[in-house]
């Protein structure tokens, strides 16, 4: 038996950096350092754990869609322990929205071959959290998403989904699309050995023609949504700061009362 896992990852601007929009109202990727989206590290981690806990022959492929620099995200995942990587890059992809991105990912996943797709719960930049559901819809396979615990055995994926009103146990047959939360388990740091080994691991590059996708199916001009304006949120006006000299709680209560909260 073999199990082919494809982990989708995204290269995002560092959330601790000063993120901006470019003139065309896409995310400015030039002025802020990029990195593997933190939430995708959990997806890589779970893929590696499934591989380690399996008696089957498991192959973990990491897949990203993005500009040249996005290779850094793949390299990080490879150094954590993934086996190989696929990078979909094409200048026509600039400005592609979630619907278009899910098309590119789905085509690439099908071309790569898969039994299980694992994604993070959301990216740390667009943070829509819809790509895993879109992939399941496009691939026509079960969606087993937002898992805090996941296991794979005998062709069945099981997991726990913690929702607002209830915690649910889910189960589906492979092939399937899974997404995992940041509660699924701490992601490992790449070891020195892992970093060295990653340099020798294969990274395949595909463009849109490799995936039989036409340029008019993706990109900013063909997006299903349009950002019409982006304005920096005005800085909050400086508030009153007091040092507690024994009456801090009472002073705060006075403020809350003045604002009609009490």
């Amino acid at each position: 038996m073999s199990l082919r896992i494809v982990v989708t990852v995204k290269y995002v601007p560092d959330a601790t950096g000063d993120r901006h929009f470019a003139d065309d109202l896409t995310v400015d990727r030039d002025d802020v350092d990029g990195l593997l989206s933190e939430l995708d590290e959990y997806a890589v981690e779970q893929a590696l754990r499934i591989a380690e806990n399996s008696d089957d022959d498991v192959e973990v492929t990491v897949l990203t869609v993005g500009p040249e620099d996005a290779k850094d995200a793949l390299r990080k995942a490879l150094s954590m322990g993934a086996d190989k990587a696929i990078h979909v890059e094409d200048e026509d992809l600039h400005g592609t929205d979630a619907i278009g991105t899910s098309l590119v990912l789905a085509k690439a996943i099908e071309k790569a071959g898969y039994d299980l797709v694992i994604s993070g719960m959301a990216s740390t930049d667009g943070s829509m959290g819809v790509v895993p559901a879109l992939l399941a819809e496009r691939l026509g396979v079960p969606q087993v998403t937002l898992l805090s615990e996941v296991s794979v055995e005998d062709g069945v994926v099981k997991g726990r989904r913690d929702g607002d009103t209830a915690s649910e146990q889910l189960q589906a047959s492979l092939p399937a699309v899974v997404s995992v939360t940041d509660q699924s388990g701490e992601a490992r740091y790449p070891s020195f050995k892992g970093i060295m080994a990653a340099k020798k691991k294969p990274v395949t590059s595909w463009d849109l023609s490799d995936l039989d996708i036409e340029a008019d199916e993706v990109g900013l001009e063909n997006a299903y949504t349009k950002v019409e304006s982006a304005a920096e949120r005005p800085a909050r006006t400086a508030g009153t700061i007091v040092k507690d000299e024994g009456e801090g709680g009472k002073q705060l209560a006075e403020f809350l009362a003045s604002q009609k909260f009490i």
């Binding site: 959330a15 993120r19 929009f21 109202l25 979630a98 619907i99 899910s102 740390t124 930049d125 943070s127 829509m128 959290g129 819809v130 559901a133 879109l134 399941a136 819809e137 026509g140 396979v141 079960p142 969606q143 087993v144 998403t145 937002l146 989904r161 913690d162 929702g163 209830a166 915690s167 649910e168 146990q169 889910l170 189960q171 589906a172 509660q183 997006a223 299903y224 949504t225 349009k226 950002v227 019409e228 304006s229 982006a230 304005a231 949120r233 909050r236 508030g239 700061i241 007091v242 040092k243 507690d244 024994g246 801090g248 709680g249 009472k250 705060l252 403020f255 809350l256 604002q259 909260f261």
Partner: protein, 320 residues
């Protein structure tokens, strides 16, 4: 007037507050037609009619409780085909976003998630979003198909607007994918008696400075004195002091209450992403340099173990 589909989040027939907020926004665009599914669906009609639903499409089947997401997508797709709406509105819960996304793909539409406001325009609804940890505000439109938009809780007021509210049965044929992911068990969350975090008008959150699980009682007492929900920073959740369901921040819940009180929270970007759009922000922290003080309307530099109990007592005294 065009009809606007509103997907109704309810628990056994009790409509959740965000669904009523959607009705307020839907009325700006057209006549709200509500879709309620599963056990108790028909019981939602009275409340929905009071808040502006001209029609309520209902359907109950075991599949909604037994299988994940897809049966609801099938039903909403059937409703879109029946009504030909000008837009589809869904609450921005985790499930709501997944339902909306799959629906959008099926009906060839664009999707906007996590809107915080919605206005009508000649070219369709314009959604306001708060992005990059709330450092930017954007406006967007869906440019293809029927706009599918998910809206964050607390984005609009709940308004009384009595309407006909005729109940109609929705005809649903489940797709092959509907039974793909089985829900083998469901454990309801124990009710704390406090408001739901994303829906609460006031949120009191504790962070690293709270120092331990047992000390969260202080935060809870303050919350209860104000009728507030309790939140926690990632540091407090990762330390195991408070459940992840109550985490405020990028990987937890995003809240936008009238009043947000942060106790012992430094205000890392991760946390700010989840609370920065709160109307009034108050913080208590020992460190005068803590970044949270850049956001506050009122801040107290001091020991939360002194300030919080005094505040709670004072609130109780004032409320009599």
């Amino acid at each position: 007037m065009a009809e606007v589909l509103v997907y109704v989040d309810h628990v056994g027939g009790v409509v959740r507050k965000p669904a009523l907020e959607l009705l307020t926004l839907a009325r700006r665009i057209g006549d709200p037609v509500a879709v309620a599914l599963g056990e108790g669906a028909a019981d939602t009609a009275g409340t929905l009619a009071e808040h502006g639903a001209v029609k309520i499409l209902t359907h109950d089947a075991a599949e909604y409780a037994e299988y994940l997401v897809v049966p609801k997508v099938d039903a909403l797709q059937a409703a879109v085909e029946q009504v030909s709406p000008a837009a589809v509105l869904v609450s921005s819960s985790a499930e709501g976003k997944e339902i909306a996304a799959r629906l959008a793909l099926r009906i060839g539409s664009g999707i906007i998630t996590d809107a915080v406001d919605l206005q009508a325009s000649d070219e369709g609804p314009v959604a306001t979003q708060s992005v990059f940890a709330a450092s930017y505000t954007t406006t967007s439109r869906v440019t293809k198909g029927v706009p599918v938009i998910t809206v964050k809780p607390n984005s609009a007021a709940v308004e009384q607007a009595p309407a006909a509210g005729a109940v109609e049965a929705l005809n649903v044929t489940f797709s092959e994918q509907a039974t793909g992911t089985k829900i083998t068990s469901r454990t309801p969350r124990e009710s704390t008696g406090r408001p739901e975090l994303t829906e609460a008008a006031i949120v009191v959150s504790g962070g690293r400075g709270v120092g331990g699980a047992e000390n969260f009682a202080l935060i809870e007492s303050l919350a209860d004195s104000l009728g507030a929900a309790v939140g926690a920073s990632r540091a407090a959740v990762d330390a195991g002091w408070y459940p992840h369901t109550q985490q405020v921040g990028q990987t937890g819940k995003t809240v936008s209450p009238q009043l947000y009180i942060a106790a012992g929270i430094s205000g890392a970007i991760q946390h700010r992403a989840g609370m920065q759009t709160s109307k009034t922000i108050v913080a208590i922290n020992k460190d005068p340099e803590a970044p949270i003080f850049d956001l506050v309307d009122y801040g107290v530099v001091g020991d939360l173990f002194e300030v919080v109990p005094q505040l709670t007592e004072e609130i109780k005294a004032r409320k009599g």
